[in-house]
């Protein structure tokens, strides 16, 4: 996968999207094969070393205790500090920049648990951003969000990709979300790769039919120019 890409992983529930992300992040060991990060096997790197280069945004975040938004963002600095290290002014600066980049700097003193779903997701993305990793893996970043937040997260991810040069891998089952922001896609079914390549060439009615068992029209939106997918009926 090239650096600077905005790469989508599509597939039905249970197709292995989340598992693939966990393997890519080095949280799970692959049963066979290996994950190479610029030529280095992930298994040869410590967790901390991986975390300095790969950040993960989980689907949902439930805190056991209440932390402030700034504290959550500062946790992204973990792999850059020693066991007994305390965050210095530079770490605070990086964390606040990350909050600013995700439009949540005005929330920095708020308690995380009082935020709305969209705000939470943006703060968690900020925390991953503070990790200063070149690769960010996102698991269903919009799954539990309503339409307004979905658009917000989509434009945020596009901005981060373009302006901050973050390479992203996004697992999602929202075809239109993926079509809207990803320049490359991989289709996953039953843990196997069905197709991958540029969004325009991969996202075809035939592929969607094979992936979900659904007849669908793929068209170009007259105003935005992006691909849109309209499912028409279920085929058994």
């Amino acid at each position: 996968m090239p650096s600077g890409a905005l790469f989508g992983i599509l597939g039905p529930n249970g197709s292995g999207k989340t598992t693939l992300l966990r393997v890519l992040a080095g949280i799970l060991q692959p049963a066979m094969g290996r994950v190479l990060l610029e030529g280095t096997d992930l298994r040869r790197l410590s967790r901390r070393a991986v975390a300095r280069r790969v950040a993960v945004v989980p689907q949902e975040t439930h805190l056991a205790f209440d932390y402030s938004v700034l504290e959550i963002a500062l946790m992204g600095r973990y792999p850059h500090l020693g066991t007994f290290g305390l965050e210095g002014p530079r770490d605070v600066q990086v964390a606040r920049d990350a909050l600013a980049a995700t439009g949540t700097i005005h929330l920095e003193r708020r308690s995380f648990s009082t935020l709305s779903g969209g705000e939470k997701q943006r703060v968690v993305i900020a925390s991953a951003l503070a990790q200063a990793a070149e690769l960010m893996l996102l698991d269903e970043p919009t799954a539990s969000l309503d339409l307004g937040y979905q658009i917000e997260i989509a434009s945020l991810l596009r901005d981060l990709n373009r302006q901050h040069g973050v390479t992203m891998v996004i697992a999602t089952h929202d075809l239109n979300f993926a079509a809207g922001i990803c320049n490359e896609l991989a289709l996953l079914r039953d843990g196997r790769l069905m197709a991958s390549g540029a969004t325009e060439s991969v996202l075809t009615p035939a592929a969607i039919g094979a992936l979900y068992g659904v007849e669908a029209d793929v068209a170009r939106h007259p105003i935005t120019g992006r691909l849109i997918v309209v499912p028409t009926r279920k085929v058994s």
Partner: protein, 361 residues
């Protein structure tokens, strides 16, 4: 859709919400120094003041009056020989229980967990009660049998729970830990009742007294016996706080931020169990310290474990010593077991916490 990066202007009214105690961040270092100094001072004052309270009034200035020889200084004798061991036992037990409460709550990602949730205390109780009921078996040992047996019992329970939680070889499952702990607690309670059924009356009275939790140590010896285990556990705690912060966010999130999750969970589980086992063998299963203290501390200093853990250890020491003073004075000259006092304070507090959390989420 445009993104305002610094949208102070557009800041909606709803943003002026509740701020957590950790929100007003000077630096972590400053907050750590302030909190540990304050709670440390509190603990020291409690340990110095507690021995002054008792049936015979003594004065602190006379205790430390170097012009009087120790064998002539009755105040100093009462202070150092009769009463200080009890205060120090309280400090040790209180800090161990409070700190391991913090660690267990983060490990299990459950604010209502206590040091006794995972069966450590039930194992300790079973050991202690076996030693009380069948004294002959252990009479040959040079050390007091009851604390030893209770410590062994706690290690036994820890071993079982750990073996169950790792049985499926998928790392350390906190769900299994929790369920195994709760089940073990119930099972050991049944065994305790069974042993009690076969005990005579004086043994039953001793058993019940032990279960209440009491700091009535006669000498420094049991404190010195528990101290090394507690110190080892506390040394392990020093490695944990930053990783515990991330575990509180989620195990996958922690792993993705560079935390070695399994190693952290193992270290947290064994060190907190060790501290709990040592504390229970010294003072019995004194309840609620491990949940009341961490929550009070979080209300005051926020949730950052780098501050919560040392603060809880210090505040736990002062808190239990103060509770013990209450236990000795409430119905004087009768001395209540301190476990009754902590339960009287802790029970309602626990319920308040439950309701408050239920409403807050």
């Amino acid at each position: 859709m445009p993104h305002e990066t610094s949208s102070e202007v557009r800041r909606p009214m709803s943003d002026v919400g509740r701020e957590p105690a950790g929100a007003n961040l000077p630096s972590v270092r400053r907050r750590l120094i302030v909190a540990t100094t304050a709670f440390g001072a509190l603990a020291c004052i409690a340990c110095l003041a507690a021995p002054l309270v008792g049936p015979t009034p003594i004065h602190l200035w006379r205790v430390f009056d170097r012009t009087i020889a120790f064998r002539d200084n009755v105040d100093a004798q009462i202070f150092f020989i009769a009463r200080l061991p009890r205060a120090l036992a309280g400090a040790l037990v209180g800090s161990a229980l409070a700190a391991s409460g913090v660690v267990f709550q983060a490990l299990l990602r459950n604010p209502l967990a206590t040091p006794f949730t995972l069966g450590v205390s039930a194992g300790a109780a079973l050991g202690a009660i076996l030693a009380i009921t069948f004294p002959l078996a252990l009479a040959a040992l040079p050390v007091p049998a009851v604390p030893l047996a209770s410590f062994a019992g706690s290690l036994f329970a820890v071993g079982i729970v750990y073996a169950l939680a790792t049985a499926r070889r998928l790392g350390l499952s906190t769900h299994v830990l929790l369920l195994a702990g709760v089940t073990l607690n119930a099972f050991f309670s049944a065994l305790i009742l069974f042993v009690q059924y076969s005990a005579d009356q004086s043994q039953t009275v001793r058993t019940v007294r032990w279960l209440m939790g009491d700091l009535d140590v006669a000498t420094y010896t049991p404190i010195l016996a528990a101290l090394p285990f507690t110190l080892v556990a506390f040394a392990a705690f020093a490695w944990l706080p930053r990783s515990l912060n991330l575990l509180a966010v989620g195990t996958d999130a922690a792993a993705a931020r560079g935390v070695d999750v399994l190693r952290t969970q193992r270290l947290a589980f064994f060190s907190a169990s060790l501290a709990t086992g040592a504390a229970v063998s010294l003072g019995g299963p004194i309840g609620f310290i491990g949940i009341v203290v961490p929550h009070l501390v979080r209300l005051l200093v926020g949730s950052d474990h780098r501050i919560v853990l040392p603060s809880s250890a210090l505040f736990g020491a002062g808190f239990l010593v103060a509770c013990d003073v209450l236990a000795r004075t409430l119905l004087a000259p009768i001395e209540l077991p301190v476990g009754i006092v902590t339960a009287m304070i802790g029970g309602p507090f626990f319920l308040w916490l439950l309701v408050r959390q239920g409403g807050g989420r």
